[in-house]
């Protein structure tokens, strides 16, 4: 894979990469670190991409791991949301975002990747290093929690 081809594929994924960071890392600077490091790691490990058709799955998996590394590092410090999220914008969008971000991280990622980004259960399983049954269970629990939080049916599926 040439650097231009790699860059084109990353560019196409940019909004998805942002949302993957967004639902995992509350601090903007961490998101920037995570995406940069993930891009560098992906480029360095491009030989491990066994099938170019699975670039999305592979790239997102690397980014998820990078976000988790950052979260783990932060646990060594008592960070009391030193840089809190800005208050919710008013209206429906703010409620949706807050509800999604209040979910358990594992359910949040599954919901984001499956229902919002449209990846199949199988692809999500590969991205998160889970079995398909575990992904389905998290989707079910996450959807139920969202329903409770939003007091309405959150998803059509």
């Amino acid at each position: 894979m040439t650097s231009d081809e790699f860059a084109r594929r990353v560019e196409a994924l940019r909004p998805v990469l942002y949302r993957v960071c967004r639902v995992q890392l509350p601090i903007p600077a961490d998101r920037e670190d995570a995406v940069q490091e993930a891009i560098f790691r992906a480029w360095q490990k491009r030989d491990s991409l066994r099938d170019a058709r699975r670039f999305d799955t592979w790239m997102i998996r690397i980014l998820v791991n990078q976000c988790r590394d950052i979260l783990r590092r932060h646990r060594y410090f008592v960070v009391t949301d030193a840089l809190p999220e800005p208050p919710s914008e008013g209206g429906h969008g703010g409620e949706l975002r807050d509800a999604l971000l209040r979910l358990d991280e594992r359910q949040r990622l599954c919901l984001l990747l499956h229902y919002i980004e449209g990846y199949s259960v199988k692809e999500v399983a590969r991205m998160l290093g889970l079995g398909e049954s575990a992904v389905k269970a998290r989707l079910m629990r996450g959807r139920q929690k969202l329903k409770e939080m939003l007091l309405e049916e959150a998803f059509e599926k």
């Binding site: 231009d4 909004p15 942002y18 360095q44 980004e117 889970l130 939003l150």
Partner: protein, 391 residues
């Protein structure tokens, strides 16, 4: 009802600092400032290309044609409409010898080129296998520890052999026992044009027949490089690769690493199938905004680009815009595409429908839940714009 698009909008678009971070990372990649990770020592010798039947450059009838496109017709309607007559100038065959798998045969049997798309059908014989693997302490230290669940890169191998090894791995993991295996697969690495330009594969499909032969159909990623577009013929190499994944578990933890080794490739020459592409253009209005649309259609693929005049899509940023493209006479739809409005131009890619229409009907839809709903919704409607064929 809340849809995924509502959540996307709620999460917002990448902010400026995030975009700067991505741009800077990609700049460093392009500038060669990010080096490839050092590989661990290879346990293998060099692969040997034992035999290559190179092309002579003269179009010859293909004896014992494999007719791989025929095998895929049941899965993809495009192949039913590709004209009879193989674009392949001459059958190409190579035997790749590796210590891991022995002889792997790659045989190209069908190919198609229409000036904007390249498709190649080939068979792989003895292209995959597994073997026990026990890492040294040094090797284990270099492997990635998987925190939970299944390995990421384990492919579903058509022989089912890897599934058996995978099952054994997870049995050992559950028991806390030590167990490992290496999975070796020969696959296409990339295409390479005559001038050395590498082109990634785009879509691809694999099939296995009742005799266990693996059929692959790969397409070059589009758009093709300029020098490969609209030529009378195209010559390229199918560059093959041996991909190896190691999986190992002990004390209930799974470790993995991957490596790839470039093997030899085989040259392929494909003659252009004439009269199978067309360009279209039109100007329309959507939501009070004027836009220009340009489309390129071949038997197997189509692409569309719509550009709003004077930033007219600005109000729709972050929204998904579905573009249903259909034959303007018969109404037959190309696979519908959707794009996110981030700037003034949105690109869409479709599968072809096996013919080149006289005109195209384009329907733009913003508030559909998915592409099927968008297609259902436009039935019986007037198109947003009709695109006329250009000379």
């Amino acid at each position: 009802m809340i849809r995924g698009e509502d959540f996307k909008a709620a999460l917002g678009a990448p902010d400026a600092d995030f975009n700067v971070a991505v741009d800077e990372a990609l700049r460093r990649v392009r500038a060669g400032e990010v080096r490839r990770a050092a590989r661990r020592g290879m346990r293998y010798g060099l692969a040997i290309a034992a035999a290559v039947l190179a092309l002579t450059g003269v179009a010859l009838a293909v004896a014992a044609r494999l007719e791989l496109f025929e095998a895929f017709r049941g899965f993809d309607r495009r192949f039913a409409r590709i004209p009879d007559g193989n674009g392949l100038a001459q059958e190409a065959l190579i035997c790749l010898r590796t210590p891991e798998l022995g002889n792997t045969w790659v045989r190209v049997g069908d190919a198609y080129y229409d000036g904007q798309s390249v498709m190649v059908g080939y068979t792989l014989e003895n292209n995959a296998g597994c073997a026990p693997f026990a890492p040294s302490d040094e090797e284990l230290a270099g492997m990635e520890r998987l925190e939970e669940g299944m390995p990421l890169n384990l492919q579903e191998m058509m022989t089912g052999e890897s599934q058996r090894w995978e099952e054994a791995l997870f049995v050992a993991k559950a028991r806390g026992e030590a167990f490992g295996f290496a999975e070796h697969v020969v696959l296409l690495s990339h295409f390479e044009l005559e001038d050395g330009t590498a082109v990634m594969q785009g879509r691809g499909e694999g099939l296995v027949n009742s005799r266990g032969e693996v059929y692959w159909l790969d397409e070059m990623m589009e758009p093709l490089p300029e020098q490969a577009q609209d030529q009378d013929e195209i010559v390229f190499r199918l560059c093959m690769q041996l991909q190896t994944s190691h999986f190992y578990t002990e004390n209930g933890i799974v470790y993995q690493d991957n490596e790839a080794r470039e093997l030899d490739g085989l040259a392929v020459k494909v003659l252009r199938t004439a009269g199978t592409t067309a360009r279209y253009a039109g100007t329309g209005e959507f939501g009070g905004a004027t836009f220009e649309a340009e489309a390129r259609v071949s038997l197997v693929t189509a692409s569309l680009e719509i550009t709003a005049v004077e930033d007219a899509f600005a109000a729709d940023k972050g929204k998904r815009l579905f573009a249903v493209l259909a034959d303007g006479e018969t109404g037959e739809c190309f696979s519908s595409g959707s794009g996110i409005v981030w700037d003034n131009t949105i690109s869409y890619d479709y599968s072809g429908i096996g013919h080149v229409p006289e005109r195209l009907a384009l329907y733009l839809v913003t508030d559909a839940g998915d592409m099927w709903e968008a297609e259902r919704r436009v039935k019986g409607m007037e198109p947003t714009v009709t695109l006329r064929k250009e000379e």
